[in-house]
Structures are given as structure tokens and as C-alpha cells.
Assembly symmetry: C2
Homo-oligomer: 409 residues x 2
């Protein structure tokens, strides 16, 4: 049932056999993240539009023939993927496009798109006979890993900077992760995690470094295509931090193209916050490599100055004839209530950043009236109530008296 | 496509035609909440186990023939229901039962079971040509109503006590509800809401008073039955506040019995917090009516001293040969991480109260080894991070040094 695959460096193209310790290219180092390349002839006999139409598995595992997991028994028992894709006529009218679709990935088990990656990552850890998984993160990847590790019976170590928000640390502790608060900043946490993973031989769930995680994320693109009956949108917008989610979109559409299940690539538009935009800068300047920069934005999940998956991210935009957009924190905040009111989807700041980018590009007249657009919401608004609070006004305060109330409204 | 139905008083049995202003029985008053009684012959020709097996609508609207909504166009465009039902062998082993299932209703659009009620309530408001919906609430019903009203284009007024938690008020404001902070306590908010609804002719989304909302909630029971291939569990546990959710479970299983789709009723077990247990007290004493009492528990969603749907709630337990259990706040808090670690489901305090009740009853030897048990988790843990924080220990604090870390673990 598992399709054969090899790993291939995104920079130099060198190929590797899948092995537990094979994370990145031995020539290009950390920059040389690896793609999972399937035997498409074999995959094509196991997956098709017609077969999927009969498939009642409403999770990302419906695309199992295109996922690098060996054993059925290693699939974690949490319902992940097949998140809703809503059509918003209201927003399409407002912004003058033919159709607008909102993909609500905040509906996943731990409330973010990261669950797609964790589901595959935890299954791979089991495939490789690992018992401990680890990562450095302060956000959604951490809570997602801790949830999936718990249900799969794996031990997890999560390294976070000492000043990580209490709410996020709490979610990790609830799932039973071993949470290590590292005295220092995120780089210190990352370095200690890397050293510990090497010393103790734990399984590395860093989305850029572990080649299998983008495979989980690619299912978001596959679902968009299938939910639109294989007629892909003209443009797809998604927020960009370390570059893994946008790489997943590209990989998903690209795999479908190779399988002949879609007939063209959508343009993939990456949206970054003004305060953390190294990938946007590289797209603007046409640079081959990115320059690491500062990271200061309210959208904590994409507050990344040194994105590890930059090579795949640049490829996603360039090869799909897409582009990058940068938006301010004010743009992001105001997108929260606007999207919630129009579509019912309440996103966290990084969750609505793709929508903010769509708005900016539409306002600049860079989207055609005949275009069909999809926007991915990557995380649930309940993850960051403090930021949401900054995005709205105040409630009415009223005496408990009907006449007083009637006068107020 | 809509099955004919009448409304019938739960206390005296008097029947009424469905009309916009018909909320409760005109003889029994507020205590006389109404059941929706369908023409079962008509419904039976539109719904069956076989037809559902072919139905690809993975939302509560798959049971549309048994829902009191007139127009397809009035169904709000948010994917609600068909939440996951997980089998936990680990918890079944721990507590010595044959099978244990966890129904994760925190996966709904605004992250609670209340969305099932709001979906139907908003559709009914549109059926009745209403433009404004209102309720008094501090919790999940309020955020749920505001989300569904937003997407349906209805105006909403939500009355909350002045001291309502900022996080919950924020969620309401994000969805664009008109939030009225009432100077006073919950009773003041409820009274002002009632007066305003009457004065302005708004549509009343109070779950006990509006007879259609329990119909939405009943789909949780229908899904449990269908997800278990129509072989219902022996016992189903659910938390009880105002009594609407448990009434929904009873109504769902009861409707399925009448349709011949299941062959017996599960025992329905209502679980209350020790600090707010008027329904538990009535079950213990065998009282015909309940006595209102205090409400003081960490589980805010069930912190109800004066439950409005008490008559249906008592019926649910008594007619199903079920019972009531009361648990302490400590029981509730410790159930949060235990459930999250064993099943991957992170519930809010009221969300895991059903599980806490199951644990207590199992520990008392009151559940047979051969029994199959389902537990409903009514709301997502992300709704109340502060309480979750009280349920777990602290993280390790470590210098950014691998030798220091290695010594610690």
C-alpha cells in the first residue's frame, strides 16, 4: 500500500534512500532540505479522482498512497485534515473576484495546519522504531506534536524559550509533553534541542529539517483541489514563516499535476508580516538565496527571521508563477474580525495573514475580476485571544433596565 | 423535504402548531418546554441506515429529514457536526470496561457542542423571517450564536454580566455581535435580555426556551449511533448545566428508536459539578421537580443553579434507566490532562466533566466489565486556558547547555 519513494535535495538534486537519520542533504547541509519523490507510476495505480470520490475516509489519510508512511498501524488515532473549504460570495463581491474560498485549517485536532505535519511525523517516528520525538518551538508545531505524540504513546520533549507565553506552555503540559524552558531566546532553545536530539538519538520533528512533514502539509492543497472538484483556483494565499506550509501547498499541487489529476498549477502567493519578511525580500529582489533578518510581528506563528525551509518556499512562489506580499500588523489585526464576520472563520494573527495579503493585492488591482481565489487560514483564533482583543472595539455597558437599554440602541 | 411536526409540552403533553412566538407551553409556563414531534411515517420514508451509508454530507444536516428546518437556503454555511468519535483501548483497560468511546464536540466551528443548536436556531430564525437573534449567556452558547448569526447575515444581541471574562467577550466582539455588558449578575442579564427580546420582537435563542435548539443537539446522539454502526453503547456520559445537552441526547436516541434505526436506548448519565447540582439532587431524592440552588464551580459552562430545561433533563435520565453523578472541581481539573494524554482530546472543564463522572462511577464498581461506554466532550480546552493551567505541573527550567540538560533528565 505504501508507494516507493526516495529523498531528493531541493538545491543540488542529490538523491538519498529514506533512513531514520537522513534529514538534509550531505552536500548542501541545512539549506538542502529534501523532497519526497514517489514512483508516480505506482502511485497512479493506487490513487485517482474516481477512487477518491468513493473514499469515505474524511481525513488526510485518504491520500495515503501519496504519503510516506509504511504501516497502517502507525497512523495516529486523531481525525486530521479534510477541513472545511467555504465559499464566500460576500468577500468575493467586496474584493471584486469571481470566487473566493476560505480553507479553515483551525479545525484540526490541536487547532492548526501543523497537525497535518505532526500526524505524518509521528507515524514516521513509529515506522523508524523511535520512542521519543522532540522539537524546539514556541507555538503550534509544539502543541501539535505533543498532542499527536500523546495519542501515539510516544514520549515528547519540547524546547521553548523561558519567556514563552504561559498559555502555549499550558497546552503542552496538558498533553503530557516534557516541556523544557530554556534560559535564553529561541535560538538558545533551538540549539539545545538540536544538541539533545543528537546526543540522545531522538526523532527530530523540525518541519523544515524532517523531510516527511511537508508531505503532511501538502494534503491541504490536495483537499482544496478535490473540494473544488479538481478545478484548481487561479491563486492560493497562505502566510509564510519558516516556509514549510507554502512548500506543502506547492508539493501537493505539484504531485497532483504529475498524477494528471489537475491540469495546471495555481499561482501560490506567500504572505509575510512586514516585521519578519526575509522571504518576501528575496522574491522582491530576485535573490537566489535569502538573507536572514529581524522577526518582530504580532503574528507569532510566522515571526521567523531565519526561515529554515527558504529554498522550498522560494521555489513554491517562483515555479508556480506566484509572488510574495508583505502586510503590516495593523492589516493582520483588522483582518481577524473582518474574516470572522464574513465567513464565520475566527483565525489567529498568522491564521488570517493570508487573507490580509489577498486584500492588499486585490486593493492594488493585481487580481483579475475573473479569478478564483483560495485563502488558507492556518490556525484558530482561540489560540491567541490577547491579539484578537486588540482587533475589536468595546462592548456596550448598560444598567439592568429595559428603558435604559432602549435609549442606548 | 421537511417532515411535518408539532410542538408538545414535556409536562402536560399539550400540543401546539409551530409559530415564531411559540416558545413554551401556555399552561405550564417556562417549566413547560416543548418537544418537536415529527410525523414518523413521513420521516421514515426519508431517512434510513442504508440511505445514510451513501450520504456524503459529513455534517449534522445529513439528518435533515429529522430536523425542523423549512428551507435549504436557510442552512448556515458553516460545517457543523459529524465530530470524531474515538475509541480508547487505553482508557477502557484502565477503567475495566469493554469499550470506551470519546465524542469530541470541541471540533465544531466555534469549538463547542452548542454549535449544533445555533445552526438550527439560526436556520429557524430565517425560516420565521427574523432579522435579529438574541440570548443571555456568558459562555459557549453566546460565542456560537454570534458566529452563526454573522455567517447567516443576522444581527445578534448578546447580554452578559458585566464581570464576564474578557476572553469570552472578545470572541463575541470578533464575530460582530452587539455585546451588552449588564451591570449586575447573570440573572440581571437574563432578565434584561428577556425584556429586550419581548420589546423589540427579536428571535430568542435560549436553548431551553426555544424548542428547536435541542433538535440541533440531538444530532450528537444520532452521530454516536451511526458512528458505532447503529449498535449503541450501554451508557453515555455527558455534563449537565441547564439540561439542554442531555435532553438532546435523549431526544436523538429516542427518535432513532421510533424510526427503528436502533433497538434499545443507552442509559444516559448526567454529570454535574458538586457546586451546581440541582438536577443531581432531584435524581437522588426522586423529586418530581427540581429545587434551584447555588452555582459555584470552575466548570463555567455548567455553573447553573437554575436550569431552565430541568424537566427534559430529568426525563432523559429516568426514561433511559440512567442516573446522575456529581464530581468535585478537583475531579474535573484532573480529568483534563488525563483525557488529553490518553485520547488527544483537550477539553474545557465542563467539556471533561462527563469523563470525570465516568471515572467516578467506574471506580465505584457501578459499570460492568462487559459494558460499552461513550463520553461526550462538550467544549474545547482552548476556551479556558486558565483552568487548564491549574490542572498541570510546571515545566523544567534549564540552562542552554547540553551537559546541564543531560544531568536534569
Amino acid at each position: 500500500m505504501t508507494t516507493r519513494y526516495v529523498l531528493k535535495c531541493v538545491l543540488c538534486g542529490k538523491e538519498f534512500e529514506p533512513q531514520p537519520e537522513r534529514y538534509v542533504c550531505d552536500v548542501c547541509g541545512l539549506d538542502g532540505t529534501l523532497d519526497v519523490i514517489y514512483d508516480m507510476k505506482e502511485a497512479g495505480s493506487a490513487i485517482s479522482c474516481a477512487a477518491l470520490a468513493e473514499n469515505r475516509d474524511m481525513s488526510l489519510w485518504r491520500y495515503r498512497a501519496m504519503l510516506p508512511v509504511e504501516k497502517e498501524a502507525h497512523i495516529p488515532a486523531l481525525a486530521v485534515g479534510w477541513s472545511p473549504l467555504y465559499k464566500s460570495e460576500k468577500l468575493a463581491d467586496t474584493y471584486g473576484v469571481k470566487e473566493l474560498f476560505i480553507k479553515d485549517d483551525g479545525r484540526n485536532p490541536t487547532a492548526s495546519l501543523k497537525d497535518r505535519a505532526s500526524a505524518v511525523g509521528v507515524a514516521k517516528a513509529l515506522d523508524f522504531g523511535q520512542h521519543v520525538v522532540a522539537c524546539a518551538s514556541t507555538g503550534n508545531a509544539a502543541s501539535s506534536l505533543s498532542g499527536f505524540a500523546a495519542v501515539a504513546g510516544l514520549k515528547s520533549y519540547i524546547f521553548v524559550p523561558e519567556k514563552a507565553p504561559a498559555a502555549k506552555v499550558t497546552q503542552l503540559l496538558v498533553y503530557g509533553a516534557n516541556v523544557v524552558l530554556v534560559k535564553g531566546d529561541y535560538a538558545d532553545a533551538f540549539n539545545l534541542a538540536t544538541a539533545a536530539i543528537e546526543k540522545f538519538g531522538w526523532y527530530n520533528r523540525n518541519c523544515a529539517i524532517n523531510p516527511y512533514l511537508v508531505e503532511g502539509k501538502k494534503t491541504c492543497a490536495m483537499e482544496i483541489a478535490e473540494q473544488l472538484e479538481w478545478s484548481v483556483p487561479d491563486k492560493v494565499f497562505i502566510s509564510v514563516g519558516d516556509g514549510c506550509c507554502i512548500s506543502g501547498l506547492y508539493k501537493g499541487f505539484s504531485d497532483l499535476m504529475q498524477l494528471g489529476m489537475i491540469d495546471r498549477m495555481p499561482q501560490i502567493i506567500g504572505v509575510q508580516a512586514e516585521g519578519a519578511k526575509p522571504i518576501y525580500d528575496a522574491i522582491q529582489s530576485g535573490a537566489e538565496r535569502i538573507a536572514f533578518g529581524p522577526a518582530d510581528t504580532i503574528a507569532d506563528s510566522i515571526s521567523v527571521g531565519a526561515p529554515r525551509n527558504w529554498a522550498k518556499a522560494l521555489r513554491a512562489m517562483r515555479k508556480s508563477d506566484g509572488t510574495a506580499v508583505a502586510v503590516t500588523d495593523e492589516d493582520i489585526l483588522s483582518a481577524i474580525p473582518e474574516l470572522a464576520r464574513a465567513s464565520g472563520v475566527f483565525g489567529e494573527p498568522a491564521g488570517v495573514t493570508g487573507f490580509a495579503g489577498f486584500k492588499k493585492m486585490a486593493a492594488a488591482g493585481k487580481i483579475g475580476k475573473d479569478e478564483r481565489v483560495a485563502v488558507v487560514v492556518t490556525g484558530n483564533g482561540l489560540k491567541d485571544i490577547e491579539s484578537a482583543k486588540k482587533s475589536v472595539g468595546k462592548a456596550l455597558l448598560c444598567e439592568p433596565d429595559i428603558d435604559a437599554f432602549a435609549k442606548m440602541i
